[in-house]
Symmetry: D2
Amino acid sequence: MPMTDLQERIATSFQAQGLMTTLGAELVRVAEGEVHIALPFSERLSQQHGFVHAGAITSILDSACGYAALTKAPPGCEVVTAEFKINLLRPALGDRFLAIGKVQNAGWSLTVCTGEVQAFSGDGSAPKVVALMQATIANLRPPA
Amino acid sequence: MPMTDLQERIATSFQAQGLMTTLGAELVRVAEGEVHIALPFSERLSQQHGFVHAGAITSILDSACGYAALTKAPPGCEVVTAEFKINLLRPALGDRFLAIGKVQNAGWSLTVCTGEVQAFSGDGSAPKVVALMQATIANLRPPA
Amino acid sequence: MPMTDLQERIATSFQAQGLMTTLGAELVRVAEGEVHIALPFSERLSQQHGFVHAGAITSILDSACGYAALTKAPPGCEVVTAEFKINLLRPALGDRFLAIGKVQNAGWSLTVCTGEVQAFSGDGSAPKVVALMQATIANLRPPA
Amino acid sequence: MPMTDLQERIATSFQAQGLMTTLGAELVRVAEGEVHIALPFSERLSQQHGFVHAGAITSILDSACGYAALTKAPPGCEVVTAEFKINLLRPALGDRFLAIGKVQNAGWSLTVCTGEVQAFSGDGSAPKVVALMQATIANLRPPA
């Protein structure tokens, strides 16, 4: 599929994800093998100390990895996350978060992605990596 | 800490998690080494096919494991999720979901939990396990 | 496949694993959805402090999970480990170790297993769980 | 600790790992935050199809990540692997394997590493990545 068609397909799919709207996430980049999703800070996403909850960080990174895998999937395939592992490196403290999912290996049935979430503060300092993911995404072939 | 104090402390902490309110999650059980969190289905939590997004499933299971670890933490400790791994076994399809986090081993600095999310449909059939987690939670000691 | 055929097939496959012989591991139980592999202590398997190396513990548990998955695989399928995650709960200290792999969910293309390694000391005390695994095993179908 | 002392300390520790000798692994590089371990192919390391067993691949990558973490650990600390996750991307087919462990984040008590194993064939073609790891290593402080 040409990249512009893929970008449109992914934008449409993203819009259909109720959770992304509920969290306030935005799809900001779709390239071959790499997808970025941004999330502005909101108290609605907090854990008990006021930082962003690991679950919100995980949600956008899982979506970024899944869509990155979709850019490399065989024509006609859907993708579904089989599993992932995430390390939370430091408190998710910032004004805005950017999840970056990248394909590391695209096989016939499984795609392996890695990803990170960067936290941006409003003061112009360099972003900090708050989470690292390694994920396995399965290709779902259409019924023959 | 006596269990009733712990239950109160965890209920207060849960209430302070903006994300749990945003998702519509409820704390339903706090026992020694085991915590349950429920999540009713909502389109606001969906992925692109209308099932509940892996991120929402993960969020309640991460919280359940974290609070289970807290029930076993040394007095005065806070806990923070260091990392987890989750397998998504089937689409999260149901009226209501129940995340169960259990402590498997509580060490001096790290607690290992396992957890699952069960999906309940409205027709009275047996619940189905839709996700399995293995998580590492770190104890944060108060400054000496 | 009847269980006795499966047991024979797994015993033959186990014998063909050079690494299991090198480590000194033994296949001790094959049941539907559950496989046990034992490993006697040897200095040849140590890490720098004299305990059994995480790599040896992981090797027998990976094999136990893989063969457990094979007992549930569709006829004619081979299996291959796609990924796993392991927590090392305490030093692998003991005379003998037992890896237990169990199928949690067997899907069309992926099987999810959990497993643990128990350490036995010579003094008759209860075994201790030294490791917990959650693994994803892929079914490899024969060419049509 | 100066890098030369660290290199010596890690070389001595590596020599004390019975498993590394049993597998035939060699420590080939120790730099700040990065350690390489090589493993020549041997039938003694095989799984049932003659490829190198995931357990052997995992063993050298776990050691590479652990020693990489040690290069960043506070003075006087020992390190121990708390957990890791590994994806096996393709059969471990080759004459020689190289495990590369890298520190991604070194915290007070936990260090997060990522790593890969590259397979080299004798024909001079580019190496292939056969495994990806994400690991959590704990610092063990000496008793006060």
